[in-house]
């Protein structure tokens, strides 16, 4: 057992290790939570304040914290962490680099989402600044900047949706650019990572909102979040089916790579049990079978969210490791 585990996590063709899987996982959460927050805000009754909605509060915490956490993982995973600034300064040296464009996207995404959060939570932020950092409020033009964000709120939200979706597909393109590994070099990967990122973002937002911000089944936006989950999880399943069948129809190494990945061994077990059973079938079944009364219980909401999150993390680990198992 120990030897097979050793073998599953250490093999010659393995270049990127588990920190990259966590990085891809948290970026997906950030992207998904941002999309959900905007949807919830748009559907909010006029009488409700966005800044008081537990789901939007949870998302506003997840969006920046997850992306900063992801970037910290990435920086400390470099062999030269102190040189990380070079990827910002020289990001346009290779215009076609997926990672280079990712850096550009991170900057735009953070500026846009931070501005949005500063606008939506302007009263809370104002109070906090007044108390802890009053000098910030004395910066000339700071209030005009604030008002400007408010004026372009609709346009900003439109831009953020696009940036969040791009962030979702970026995690897939980062791996699909690797021609050296047939299982990673698949055109469907960006869509698969977008879909699973959305479902993890929704699950994480619900989890955080329920545990810390007393969200419950009747919180505005909660019904919407739960309505979104099944179609997103179903599309994830569909994309996985397309990936497997597409590779079976593919060239020599496509066939070898997919067979090695899902037909036996540690990573195949993780795929069938962790990704398919725990992350996809179980949440879908629970949603279908459980009566409404049970579904509204906190324990049900939490366990469903935890299963989805675990499934998405398993998917990231599976794709990353099983993908690097078979070189072209």
């Amino acid at each position: 057992m120990r030897e097979s585990l050793q073998h599953a996590f250490h093999f010659d063709s393995l270049v990127w290790h588990w920190p990259i899987a966590i990085y891809l996982f948290v970026l997906g959460i950030s992207s998904g939570a941002m999309c959900l927050a905007l949807l919830v805000k748009w559907k909010l009754p006029a009488s409700q304040q966005a800044a008081k909605n537990p789901l939007i509060i949870a998302a506003a915490i997840l969006v920046p914290s997850m992306i900063i956490f992801g970037l910290l993982i990435l920086i400390f995973d470099l062999t030269k962490p102190l040189h990380f600034w070079k990827v910002i300064v020289y990001q346009f040296a290779n215009p076609a680099s997926v990672m280079g464009r990712g850096v550009t996207l991170f900057i735009a995404y953070q500026v846009a989402t931070f501005a949005w959060i500063a606008w939506v939570f302007k009263e809370e932020l104002h109070r906090l600044l007044q108390r802890f950092m009053p000098w910030v409020l004395k910066i000339p033009g700071i209030f005009r900047l604030w008002d400007f964000i408010g004026k372009v709120e609709k346009q900003l939200e439109f831009v953020i949706v696009i940036l969040a979706l791009l962030l979702g597909v970026y995690t897939g393109f980062l791996l699909s650019a690797l021609t050296a590994y047939p299982l990673l070099n698949q055109p469907v990967l960006p869509l698969l990572f977008l879909a699973s990122g959305l479902s993890s973002g929704i699950a994480a937002t619900i989890l955080l909102a329920t545990t810390f911000f007393s969200a419950h089944a009747n919180t505005p936006g909660m019904a919407l979040s739960h309505r979104l989950e099944p179609p997103v999880i179903c599309s994830e399943l569909l994309l996985l089916v397309i990936l497997i069948i597409g590779m079976k129809f593919g060239g020599e190494m496509d066939k070898v790579a997919i067979a090695a990945a899902i037909s036996g061994g540690f990573w195949a077990n993780l795929f069938w049990i962790g990704v398919i059973a725990i992350g996809i079938i179980l949440p879908l079944l629970m949603n279908q079978i459980a009566p409404l009364r049970v579904k509204h219980r906190k324990a049900f909401i939490l366990s469903s969210a935890i299963l989805t999150l675990a499934g998405v993390m398993f998917l990231r680990m599976f794709i990353l490791y099983a993908g690097q198992m078979t070189p072209a």
Binding site: T79, K86, F92, A93, P95, S97, L178
Partner: protein
């Protein structure tokens, strides 16, 4: 008011672009056009005896630290039965692809194709060690140098022997003359003449990387489907 603000923003954007492009120095876009030489190598597997003289010469010439290597000669399982058994040898090193996946993915332009020689090389100072190139290389010839912490690999001795007007160390040291090095753009070069005479193959050519490492196959007695 609106007009001037827009103009200001456009100007700001343009300035930033030029500024970054300026610091960027050698951009990959420029290096993709190969002007002068197009260096390539032939490994004649029928002549190679697997003595590893090339590996040692490379290490010495390029100061390659212990634990990593730019060059490996991979020995097959023995073919045939004693006393007639022999081995097949395969050179594992950078193929100097014209369409190099490692250069395509590099986020900082540290991995580049030198436009004067067509050699794929690494700017160790620019490299941040994200290991994207190591993952992207289908030939798995890249590694992190334990001293510089940057990605490294064979560069046909671009900064050592070649800079002194000599042949790469591996070519110089080969007792079998199994390695031929030269410029594909020069019709009179030894490499072009050899390519016209011998049957060669290139490893993983189907990936579209246009590798410039040619191999003369040693196919004796091989029946493999």
């Amino acid at each position: 008011m609106d007009y001037s603000r827009r103009k200001f923003l456009a100007g700001l954007g343009a300035t930033t672009m030029f500024a970054t492009a300026g610091v960027a120095g050698t951009s990959v876009v420029q290096t993709l056009v190969i002007e002068g030489k197009r260096y390539a190598m032939i490994h004649d597997e029928t002549l190679c005896i697997g003595c590893d003289a090339c590996v040692d010469a490379c290490r010495e010439t390029n100061n390659v630290p212990a634990g990593v290597t730019r060059l490996e000669i991979i020995r097959s399982e023995p073919r045939g039965e004693f006393p007639d058994a022999d081995y097949k040898f395969f050179r594992k090193s950078c193929q100097h692809c014209e369409d190099a996946p490692c250069v395509d993915v590099c986020p900082t332009g540290a991995s580049f194709i030198d436009k004067k020689t067509g050699i794929v090389d690494v700017n160790a100072d620019r490299c941040i060690g994200c290991m994207y190139c190591i993952a992207a290389c289908p030939y798995k010839v890249r590694y992190i140098d334990p001293v510089t912490k940057a990605a490294d690999k064979c560069n046909f001795c671009r900064d050592t022997n070649l800079a002194k007007g000599q042949l790469p160390a591996c070519v110089q040291s080969c007792p079998q003359q199994a390695l031929v090095f030269g410029d594909l753009n020069d019709p009179d070069s030894e490499i072009v003449k050899t390519l016209q005479q011998k049957t060669v193959y290139r490893y993983k050519k189907s990936l579209g990387t246009k590798p410039k490492m040619f191999r003369v196959p040693d196919l004796k007695g091989e029946i493999e489907l």
